[in-house]
């Protein structure tokens, strides 16, 4: 197993671990240990660069996955920390005190996924959208095509085919 994982597994209750590449490790962690793990990684393991913070909507499982991706430049190592949140009333503690730049990511997540980060600077303000009236758009249950059809006037004449269906008809006219 990955040497980094060997060092971490005694300290933190890591769940699912994926070694994607020799230099990229993903670990899953209960949410209450996030801050201590990030501090450990930043200050002791040298993962001092927050590459990104984003979310994935696993709507089937009723969960949001938050991914904190950290990078250790001297060792050329990346680690992604996965946190699972319940999809309804999703809130998470803010890490803007560890990395000031995380505030921007948290603003975006709040707007695009509806995940709240209480205490993060400016998290209440509009970041990208303005006057948004529907579900947060990056959630899986928000259908962008439906929204676009309902709200915008389309110019007639554009024929849309479901590409898979269309190509099936083109390639296999007699059925698969």
């Amino acid at each position: 197993m990955h040497p980094l994982y060997e060092r971490l597994k005694h300290l933190f209750p890591l769940d699912e671990v994926t070694e994607q590449r020799p230099d990229l490790l993903f670990v899953t962690l209960p949410r209450e240990h996030l801050r201590s793990l990030l501090l450990h990684l930043r200050d002791i393991e040298g993962f001092s660069h927050l590459v990104l913070l984003t979310a994935v909507d696993w709507i089937e499982e009723g969960q949001f996955q938050l991914t904190y991706l950290l990078h250790n430049r001297p060792k050329a190592q990346d680690i992604g920390v996965r946190i699972k949140l319940a999809r309804d009333s999703a809130t998470m503690e803010s890490i803007h005190t560890l990395w000031p730049t995380a505030a921007t990511y948290q603003r975006e997540l709040r707007e695009m996924f509806g995940i709240d980060f209480p205490g993060s600077p400016g998290v209440e303000e509009d970041f990208i959208l303005e006057g948004w009236i529907d579900l947060p758009p990056y959630r899986r249950d928000f259908d962008t095509k439906k929204f676009s059809d309902e709200n915008y006037n389309h110019r007639p004449g554009r024929e849309t085919h479901d590409p898979a269906e269309y190509m099936k008809q083109q390639l296999y006219p007699n059925g698969l």
Binding site: D134, N151, Y152, R155
Partner: protein
């Protein structure tokens, strides 16, 4: 969901104390925005004067320097040695007051559309709009996006579309040449069309821009 309240604190009516200690009332909605709707401006009465003006308008096209989308990237080549649009009397103005031509360079997100309309309304009659790229015509690549408009001519009076994704500078030059013909023939009356159908345009704009800090009346 439509009833969401977008009123902002800085736009509320309030009493402020000036630096000299005098108190006065501020109503930003009324004080900061012009309330007069645009009016139709007829062409000059004498034909030869109008023709002269149309010639000058065609020969001196001042573009508003507002790159709304990716099309803005081809603007710099357009103004530099290889394509050099200055040869045709085309130049950039940084302020909408002095510009005549608004090039919508690509898709408009709703947030930009609001600014684009404001900029357009600040321009002086006669003014022209050129839509650049497929995305202004029918949404192009972003036909199913939740944040971009699909037909520009519902919101602003478009004089000319230039197709492509993205249009090459040659296409832009050709488009400007065509626009010149339209102007010289006296057919570029987009501003008057906008004034005549103001209610229709506003209704279209209102349909998608939900957060609009303008007085209710010009809505």
């Amino acid at each position: 969901m439509q009833s969401k309240d977008f009123s902002k604190a800085e736009l509320q009516k309030r009493t402020v104390t000036g630096p000299d200690g005098v108190e006065f009332e501020v109503d930003p909605m009324r004080d900061y925005f012009c309330e007069a709707p645009p009016t139709v401006m007829p062409p000059a009465y004498i034909k030869i004067v109008e023709d002269l003006f149309n010639w000058a308008r065609a020969e001196s096209i001042w573009i508003l320097g507002f790159g709304t989308g990716c099309g803005a990237i081809e603007m710099r080549p357009l103004m530099t040695p290889r394509f050099d649009a200055y040869r045709y009397g085309i130049q950039w103005r940084p302020t909408p007051r002095q510009a005549n031509l608004f090039v919508i360079s690509g898709y408009l997100s709703v947030k930009t559309l609001k600014r684009a309309i404001r900029s357009y309304e600040q321009m002086q009659n006669p003014k022209y709009v050129v839509g650049l790229g497929s995305c202004t015509i029918n949404g192009g690549m972003y036909w199913d996006s939740y944040n971009t408009i699909k037909r520009l001519d519902d919101y602003l009076p478009v004089d000319l579309y230039i197709t492509g994704c993205m249009p090459r500078p040659e296409a832009l030059l050709q488009g400007f040449m065509d626009l010149k013909k339209v102007i010289r023939a006296g057919n570029a009356e987009g501003a008057n069309r906008y004034a005549e159908n103001f209610a229709w345009y506003k209704a279209n704009q209102k349909q998608i821009i939900h957060d609009w800090d303008m007085p209710e009346y010009s809505w």
